[in-house]
């Protein structure tokens, strides 16, 4: 059995440091990993981002998420994912990513004029 000390000293210094793309810095190497929490509020709804928390592993993250985010029946299902595993678009990509959609008004039903005689469509 390996002692905790051996574990931390054998961390490969060559390994790339994981970076939290949602915030401004890599999470501290001396803290439990950061997890993002997604909760399905009611049956039929999709999971929604609720916040984050620290936990040593996924099971603990789920248990903590239950205590931190669903003390009043706010959820019927919880997802947790390590913050470092999330790839996020960058605010500076806003233009290239979303502007192309702005001039495509014909993608919306309101672009088309349907004669009144036709009725509901």
């Amino acid at each position: 059995m390996t002692s905790p000390k051996d574990d931390s000293s054998s961390t490969n210094p060559q390994a790339p440091q994981p970076v939290n793309q949602l915030a401004n810095q890599p999470t501290s190497q001396n803290e439990w990993p950061l997890w993002e929490v997604f909760i399905r509020g009611q049956h039929g709804m999709s999971h929604r981002h609720f916040g984050s928390l620290h936990a040593a592993n996924a099971e603990m993250a789920i248990k903590n998420a239950r205590d931190v985010y669903t003390r009043r029946n706010e959820g019927v299902s919880i997802w947790v994912v390590q913050a470092n595993d999330i790839t996020a678009s960058s605010p500076s990509d806003k233009g290239p990513l979303y502007e192309p959609a702005e001039d495509k008004v014909y993608r919306h039903p309101s672009f088309y004029k349907i004669p009144d005689d036709i009725g509901a469509m």
């Binding site: 905790p4 810095q25 603990m60």
Partner: protein, 328 residues
């Protein structure tokens, strides 16, 4: 308030004036600032101090109430108080999460609290001597906190605003349970009513202090207002609190410990005596009745919990390493 005396950090270096202006335009237009957006260094640092102080207040705020969990008068009151104190822990966690998105780690914030570089609200340095203080704390302290937190739901920093929305949803139960305790005591035996009155006497002025010094003495708030980190003046919120609370005290048949308290028809609000600001600054400096006890309790919790943090950190690192080896 839970975050008192937050000075705007204007020590920012020569930052791109155009960027700063564009940033202010976004705030003026009501846009939320998100973690990865560009922000002036002063905005970031001021927010870390404010959100951090707010988070510390939630955590330290568990101590005066935790004090009464084992001595609550009934099982029902005990379960309610447990739920409330658990909520305070949750509120602290929402706020720490929000502060972390600004590039400060949870450990750094805790260390800054423990070595007194960061503060928590002055109110939690007062002792809770009787069960009636649980009523006064819920009614007055949480009541004052709500007054400040409701407008903060519209603050400019997205993660902070979202944390405040969750907190406000939960906070009104806190105030109501406090009022309920006061109501029951005020309608009880003469001894119980005296207990309620004494608790009101003890907490009235410390609650008024929570809003911070008078605006006339409060420099730096202009920048924080422009950044929408601070939404209202201290005096405005304090007045609102007094105007709402006085009729509630009348309903309870309790007397606000202020002989000068009088309805002012002209301004449509009460005239009232301010707290002793000398005492306020003294408590902030660390000389309140419980400052030492509170910090010692936090330090002990931090030190006693070190082996759990270290053990589970080792476990997390081992899992990460094994996952990396398997992937290789």
């Amino acid at each position: 308030m839970y975050a008192q005396l937050i000075k705007a950090d204007t020590s920012q270096r020569e930052e791109d004036a155009a960027r700063t202006q564009a940033f202010q335009r976004r705030i003026d237009a009501g846009e939320k600032i998100e973690p990865k957006d560009w922000m002036p260094e002063g905005y970031r640092r001021t927010l870390i101090r404010q959100i951090g102080q707010h988070a510390h207040s939630e955590i330290v705020g568990q101590l005066p109430e935790g004090n009464w969990i084992s001595r609550a008068p009934t099982l029902e009151r005990k379960t309610i108080l447990l739920a409330k104190v658990q909520d305070e822990a949750g509120h602290g966690l929402y706020l720490y999460c929000a502060a972390e998105t600004l590039g400060v780690s949870r450990d750094e914030m805790t260390e800054m609290l423990l070595d007194e570089r960061m503060k928590y609200s002055s109110i939690f340095n007062y002792p809770t001597l009787t069960w009636a203080d649980m009523g006064a704390v819920g009614w007055l302290v949480d009541g004052a906190a709500i007054m400040n937190q409701v407008p903060l739901q519209r603050t400019s920093y997205g993660p902070y605003a979202r944390a405040m929305i969750r907190i406000c949803k939960e906070e009104s139960f806190h105030q109501r349970q406090g009022f309920d305790i006061m109501n029951q005591l005020a309608k009880g035996t003469p001894a119980q009513k005296t207990m309620a009155q004494n608790a009101l006497d003890r907490f009235w002025y410390p609650a008024l202090m929570m809003f911070g010094p008078p605006d006339s003495d409060s420099v730096h708030s202009e920048q924080n207002m422009a950044w929408k980190i601070k939404m209202n003046g201290n005096d405005e919120l304090r007045q609102k609190f007094v105007d709402l609370t006085v009729p509630q005290a009348e309903y309870l048949g309790l007397t606000i410990p202020d002989e000068t308290l009088q309805w002012n028809e002209e301004k449509g609000g009460y005239d009232f005596a301010g707290p002793d600001w000398g005492e306020f600054f003294d408590v902030i400096k660390g000389n309140g009745p419980c400052n030492k006890e509170r910090l010692e309790a936090r330090r002990k919790a931090w030190e006693d919990g070190a082996w759990v943090r270290d053990g589970l950190l080792a476990h997390a690192k081992k899992k990460a390493r094994r996952a990396a080896q398997e992937a290789a």
